[in-house]
């Protein structure tokens, strides 16, 4: 929050792509974690903050707790000429968007011209990244077919806890790093196992990156500078949630 609040130019909006909480068997703890997330993310000094749930937020109760804290799990809005669509592919417990939401999406898209820039944000990838790791959405192709007539489509997603970019058709699919439980490259590793937490390098493969783009002159391309941000987790050390980070992950 401090990093984002300290940026020289504040973002217009912040999108969270799910798994805001880690689930727990302790009664009441999941609701407490969801509220804590709202409180922490509420510190963002940004005009607009949007969320979609991950399966750890909404997979066990059909999204009831998430909706009570953050509102609907799927919705859309416009911002500076860009149409944003929040898609829920977790609260039906299985990796799917579902017929009802796809019908809503078709109707939502129908009023836009094919050149309208569209940003979809969701939790699971909408393409077959690694189905045997549950890195897919069963009706992702149906969703992308609905988006196919649109020329400028960007999909932002979470779930895989690693950076990834795939261009499929004219849609660009991006995942950013996570703040905990980094996963290895699915093309290089057979077993889905989170990379062990390294106390000496706690944010290896994890954490924030700040990307600066400086517009170039007519003769020169833009300059892009990527900077890793070193984080600290002192604030929550000693809590049950922090201790979960130190144990071997159960993903």
């Amino acid at each position: 929050m401090a990093t984002i609040n300290g940026l020289p130019r504040r973002p217009d909006l912040v999108l969270f792509t799910g798994d805001l909480t880690h689930d727990t068997e302790k009664p009441g703890e999941h609701a407490a974690r969801m509220s804590l997330f709202r409180e922490i993310s509420g510190r963002l000094q940004v005009a607009k903050v949007y969320h979609v749930p991950g399966e750890h937020d909404a997979g066990l109760d059909g999204g009831e707790l998430f909706r009570s804290v953050f509102g609907p799990t799927s919705y859309s809005f416009d911002h500076r000429g860009v149409h944003f669509i929040a898609l829920d592919n977790v609260s039906r417990a299985r990796p799917e968007v579902g017929e009802e939401q796809r019908a809503w999406l078709a109707k939502d898209l129908s009023r836009f011209h094919p050149t309208t820039p569209i940003v979809v944000f969701t939790h699971r990838p909408l393409f077959d990244l690694r189905p045997d790791w549950e890195w897919f959405t069963s009706d992702g192709d149906d969703v992308m077919n609905l988006l196919a007539p649109y020329e400028n489509v960007t999909v932002l997603y979470g779930h895989i806890h690693r950076e990834d970019h795939h261009a499929i058709g004219h849609a660009q699919h991006f995942a950013a790093r996570s703040l905990c439980f980094a996963f290895p490259d699915p093309d290089k590793v057979e077993d889905k196992k989170a990379i062990p937490f390294d106390k000496d390098q706690p944010f290896k493969n994890l954490g924030l990156r700040v990307i600066d783009r400086t517009a170039g002159s007519a003769a020169h391309a833009d300059t892009v500078r990527v900077q890793d941000v070193e984080l600290a987790m002192n604030e929550l050390s000693g809590t049950e949630g922090f201790d979960q980070l130190l144990k071997p992950p159960t993903f």
């Binding site: 299985r94 189905p131 549950e134 069963s138 889905k192 159960t250």
Partner: protein, 124 residues
């Protein structure tokens, strides 16, 4: 009327099947029956966690859950089933390609869900 006609056709079909069974020997009948493999799902494991099949062999998987709803998903073998507690889900399978396949639970079942998997080996 259509319903009655359908029933007559189905009944005739059953009669033919019944007479075929009557003439077949018990050994032949046993050979024709697919092998049954029972798989139990519970948070966050399948038991057994590995099964071995032969390429081209038809088997019947009987999958049941001991607790909550689980899934059994193996894209290359065409398996995508919801395993609800309180009933047995039957899946008939004839694998055509040898290999080692990872089966996963794809119905979110709790904190250890992401590690709930089993292996299906298909031998030549």
């Amino acid at each position: 009327m259509t319903g009655q006609s359908t029933f007559r056709v189905a009944a005739a079909g059953l009669a033919v099947v019944a007479s075929l069974l009557a003439v077949a020997s018990p050994a032949a009948r046993a050979q024709d029956e697919p092998r049954v493999i029972v798989i139990t799902a519970k948070r966050f494991e399948f038991s057994p966690n590995q099964i071995t099949l032969a390429k081209g062999e038809t088997v019947k998987l009987q999958v049941k859950s001991e607790d909550v709803t689980h899934g059994l998903f193996v894209r290359p073998l065409g398996i995508d089933a919801e395993i609800a507690p309180g009933r047995v889900t039957e899946l008939t399978l004839t694998p055509e390609t040898a290999g080692t396949y990872r089966a996963i639970c794809d119905h979110f079942c709790g904190a250890g869900h992401g590690g709930m998997k089993m292996t299906i080996v298909v031998r030549e």
